[in-house]
């Protein structure tokens, strides 16, 4: 089915208490800033589980949602870019799961691809393997990582067509394609929207079958104070 076209506020209206939400981006690059802004300003959903490489930065991106106390748990590889998230996790206010970055990306990819888990040598024998099954495969100690899925994925793409086909730009791709595939409801924020056929078929990164809703981007990276410095 073709993607629905909605405003950011309409698109996130069904996000409810207790939802698990994936949010694309590496730092603020590739983060769906308009959708995050709508979640912060227009929604009151709380007890959220947020899956994202970082929890934004202090007062920027997901850092705003954290300040509102609406994130119950965060799954990430790098909390350190937001000292407020580190503080909240250390003091027990924020439940958290720290996962090596590549394992996080692959678990999300697996979630979208129907893989029910995989053994990886990354993290085996370390504190991050605590409580997880470990076994030797061909003489190499590995840890079992289950797939990661979500109720909602919020992603960003520079280019999109009206069906929901997406194309990412530069290093703003990062977690977006995997997350687009791994949620029940995928909402894509797009900077430049075109008609079907406007993106060369070979150049489409995320085919439209993964994308349920398309939202025009109203808040850009360049609009965020201090972005890119």
């Amino acid at each position: 089915m073709a993607a629905q076209h909605l405003s950011a506020e309409e698109a996130i209206a069904e996000v409810k208490d207790g939802d698990t939400i994936m949010v694309g981006g590496f730092g603020l690059v590739g983060a769906p800033l308009s959708l995050i802004d709508a979640l912060v300003e227009q929604s009151s959903a709380k007890d959220l589980t947020i899956i994202s490489n970082n929890v934004g930065e202090p007062g920027r991106g997901l850092g705003l949602l954290l300040r509102q106390g609406r994130i119950r748990k965060s799954i990430a590889s790098f909390f350190t870019s937001n000292p407020e998230a580190v503080e909240a996790a250390s003091s027990g206010v924020l439940a958290y799961e720290l996962i090596p970055q590549g394992t996080l990306a692959e678990a999300i990819r697996a979630g979208g691809a129907g893989i029910r888990g995989f053994y990886t040598p990354v993290g085996a024998g370390t504190d991050l393997a605590a409580g997880r099954e470990q076994r030797e495969i061909d003489g190499v100690l590995c840890v079992l990582q289950p797939p990661i899925t979500a109720d909602v994925a919020l992603i960003y793409a520079t280019w999109g067509d009206r069906l929901g086909n997406l194309r990412y730009r530069r290093t703003a791709q990062n977690f977006n394609p995997a997350m687009a595939s791994a949620a029940t409801l995928t909402i894509a924020e797009v900077a430049e929207l075109c008609e079907p056929g406007g993106i060369e078929p070979e150049s489409i990164h995320t085919p439209h079958l993964y994308v349920n809703r398309i939202v025009p981007s109203t808040l850009r990276l360049a609009d965020v104070p201090g972005a890119g410095t």
Partner: protein, 212 residues
């Protein structure tokens, strides 16, 4: 070159071979490109999705959507390729990166590395460190010999939380190059005018001396 970090970066640059795919961590490794022999072309990979990292941009070249894993702006070299995080880490985990150069808090005499948090610390960020040291074919560690408190970093066994077991191949400090050969730690080179006695005083790991 009086800055210890430059001494380390300059020596590490000599370890890289033409044609290698290299991932550089933040800190000292980021200084390596400034010391590379122009005749030695290496291809820099950054885990947030780019093979072909170029120099920092001039002001008129700045692109907010083009950053390295340290979230600093970069440029693209001719022939650069862009990809998503899952693909980038498949390259890393799959053994397609020749060399990773990164810093460490502690290295053990069996090649274990601890570089992502101190006990009781608040550094809740592992990022791609574990993936890189497990996946790369060769792990080179660049670090000052001592902590700011004057404690050795090359020690019998890591006391900080581990990043990975037995993965380190080369350790470069401002005073020495160590190599792990068949599981044994060997001092192969003295740097910056250091003597064997200087290196011994700042190293608590057991090692054999076999200077090149």
């Amino acid at each position: 070159m009086t800055d210890a970090r430059d001494v380390i970066a300059a020596r590490a640059a000599q370890e890289l071979r033409a044609g290698e795919i290299v991932n550089l961590g933040i800190g000292i490794p980021n200084r390596i490109p400034g010391f590379l022999d122009p005749a030695v072309e290496v291809f820099l990979h950054t885990e947030n999705g780019l093979l072909g990292v170029g120099p920092r941009p001039q002001p008129d070249e700045l692109d907010l959507e083009l950053i390295d894993a340290g979230k600093k702006p970069v440029t693209l070299t001719a022939g650069a390729a862009l990809f998503d995080s899952a693909a980038s880490f498949a390259m890393i985990r799959g053994g397609h990166i020749d060399t990773v150069v990164l810093g460490a808090l502690q290295i053990s005499e069996t090649g274990d590395i601890a570089n992502w948090m101190v006990p009781g610390g608040k550094a809740l960020g592992v990022g791609g460190a574990m993936d890189l040291v497990v996946g790369a074919k060769r792990v080179i560690v660049t670090m000052t010999a001592l902590t700011p408190a004057g404690e050795p970093k090359l020690i019998p066994a890591c006391t900080f939380p581990l990043t990975a077991l037995g993965v380190v191949k080369v350790v470069i400090t401002e005073h020495a190059v160590f190599r792990f050969v068949d599981g044994e730690l060997i001092l192969t080179e003295l740097l910056g005018g250091a003597t064997e006695a200087v290196v011994a005083a700042e190293t608590s790991a057991r090692y054999r001396v076999a200077l090149d």
